[in-house]
Subunit: 400 residues, 2 copies
């Protein structure tokens, strides 16, 4: 009866560390998520070592809880996002997504080549500069009650496009390694599949739910709408990985579909405790992946500073240019909203490490950059959003 | 970005199977939990094989989710249990707990010895007859809205005592294997530790919360009472394993303490979605552990029938005798409420298997018996409870 002991202790430590970190951050007027990531860094392998690298490896219970946490987070964000609102910002979001991928990819590959990497390796490294992690930004927007602002809609729409492009780019650079060419028709097929999946699920699902959602209450269980919608969330999260997309894209779509039902308000309330329990695991695990020891030299820190600066500036430029039609203030918010790389950059770096493209140092630097962008963004974004709307954070209505 | 694929598929399958199983059971007027266990049996290794034995081994993500699920379930049950109510039934619960352990242990060891096992091995096998799994009964009582009935209080109180005694008994039989004697003073120390833990946490915690619970709202996070109480739940679940008790005892205590706060009602509502998402994992994983192939012979089935009959009858007698002072009807409900062995019997059988005391067949039979008692009880209990109170399930008030 003792087998559960160790894992319960770990769960307790992670959960409590997240609460303490979040509380300290909020007392310092920072978003709670910054404190949760920092808490992960503190209890992780590079400082206290209460979490070992083995405990956060792929497929471990902590990793799976983190995955469920971020899936539920994007589901909840989807629940507050109406398809109509996204459509209104479609053009701007598309521009932000495309430029937000091209500018970092270009600047990243030039930097890597300038630092002595071959072109094929440089492009792989640059791919780690590309993918925005919607999770961090979404959490900040949610904490500030700003999900209904037009900038939030653009950021979320652009994050979906960003994910499609990042996936394609990764496919290209992986196939280019070792001097082999890449298969254009295969890539176009993958692209068509991903776009088709999003279009069919998003448009079709929203239409079904708007037409009739009373069937959600047919089952006898007392919480049947929640249960069906959670099953939809897990199912679409899985399906989207089959189309090469991140699981969170499917979860976001599931939430967006569910936002069209007349049970939307109840679902929103019921999702809240799920986020409270599970998202801390995502942010603490994210933070615990920073290996401070690899960065303990002036050289490495300088390189990290350069990489992080390029990552922030390039994404900012891309997002800013893409959304300039909304005015400079909104464009700045959107540009910063696209900055966090979070776990996606970490995943690409892991792939590159496994493929022998990244050495130890560049791996640690890319991971640290991904997480630094994730930690720098929330306070900036919070400050911009609060300033942008005077004393209150929410803007009365979304303009088209 | 694909690593999450497999586990997301498994989570989806388990969750959906639980919903379908639960729905079918409810349409057949059975408690939903029966359907969830049956669903686990169907998708598990012995039938469809959608869940492999490796996926439900100790420490895997599914196992951990199941553990979190049952911990939250007992936490929620604790939330509906006031210390005062438990005190009122203290004497009866104590008798039920003690007799409910002694009678099955006696009958089990006689049966095992009669089937050719040495006395020391027979006592180990008999230990697997002992421990009631509060999870199954608690879920049925909760589904029927019967947690406020006096029988429910007795069952929950007795389950705590049962767990202490089962732990002691296991200590004794383990130390007896291989002909070695056992250390009485060590066992008494363990007993004192467990009782002390429960008394200090239960009485002390309840007093603190009743005295003042406004500090739960001090942190800045919007859901701070829930967060603190969830941390308490994980922490006490872990602590109780340190004292040799099941994790669910600590979780139950955490819920019971939280039931004394003035945020009790909100906490109850917020815990509901957590149960909805996570407890299905516990019941499906429990069901998937039944290996039907080991039982595919007339001999094995006959033995299983005998073992299950002894397990049910002995527990029924113990619980019935212990609670006869409440009247025959209540005593019957309480006796049946103590019948399910669930995961605790499985854990003891695993220990015996690892120690070489149990062979393949007796292991499969003990596991199957544990789960059969868990599947047989819910419909019987539901029927008894409905009959016992005429048209409505709830009894207006608890009598002392």
């Amino acid at each position: 009866m003792h087998h559960a002991s160790d894992i319960l202790f770990t769960l307790f430590i992670v959960f409590v560390a997240a609460q303490i970190g979040g509380e300290i951050a909020q007392r310092l007027k920072l978003p709670g998520v910054v404190g949760e990531i920092a808490a992960g860094c503190v209890i992780g392998p590079s400082l206290l070592g209460w979490i070992t690298p083995e405990q956060i490896a792929t497929g471990t219970p902590l990793d799976v809880l983190a995955e469920i946490g971020v899936v539920l987070l994007l589901f909840a964000v989807g629940l507050e996002t109406r398809l109509e609102d996204l459509k209104k910002v479609g053009k701007v979001a598309f521009l932000v997504g495309v430029l937000g991928v091209l500018v970092p990819f270009g600047m990243g590959s030039v930097w890597a080549h300038g630092n002595g990497f071959e072109w094929d390796k440089s492009l792989f490294i640059a791919a780690a500069f590309v993918a925005t992690s919607a999770g961090i930004t979404a959490r900040v927007l949610q904490e500030l009650g700003a999900l209904q602002r037009i900038e939030s809609k653009v950021i979320l729409g652009a994050a979906v496009i960003d994910d499609i492009l990042a996936m394609l780019l990764l496919g290209v650079v992986v196939s280019m390694q070792g001097g082999g060419g890449f298969n254009l028709s295969h890539l176009l097929l993958v692209l068509a599949g991903a776009i088709g999946f999003i279009a069919v699920v998003g448009l079709g699902g929203a239409r079904v739910m708007r037409w009739n959602s009373s069937w959600l209450e047919k089952p006898l269980g007392p919480h049947s709408p929640l249960m069906i919608v959670l099953a939809l969330c897990l199912g679409l999260a899985y399906l989207s990985t089959l189309f090469g997309l991140a699981a969170i894209i499917g979860a976001f779509l599931a939430g967006m579909i569910a936002s069209e039902t007349r049970q939307q308000h109840t679902l929103e309330q019921q999702t809240m405790p799920l986020l409270a329990l599970l998202t801390p695991f995502f942010f603490v695990v994210t933070g615990s992946k920073i290996d401070l020891r690899e960065l303990a030299s002036a050289d490495a820190l300088l390189m990290l500073a350069a990489v992080t600066a390029i990552a922030i500036v390039s994404k900012l430029i891309g997002g800013w240019l893409g959304s300039l039609s909304l005015g400079k203030r909104s464009a700045t918010i959107i540009g910063f909203g696209m900055v966090p790389r979070g776990e996606v950059g970490v995943v690409i770096a892991s792939l590159g490490f496994a493929a022998g493209v990244f050495n130890n140092r560049i791996y640690a630097i890319i991971v640290a950059m991904s997480l630094l962008t994730a930690m720098v963004t929330p306070p900036v974004l919070a400050w911009l959003l609060k300033r942008g709307s005077g004393s209150t954070v929410k803007v009365p209505d979304v303009k088209g």
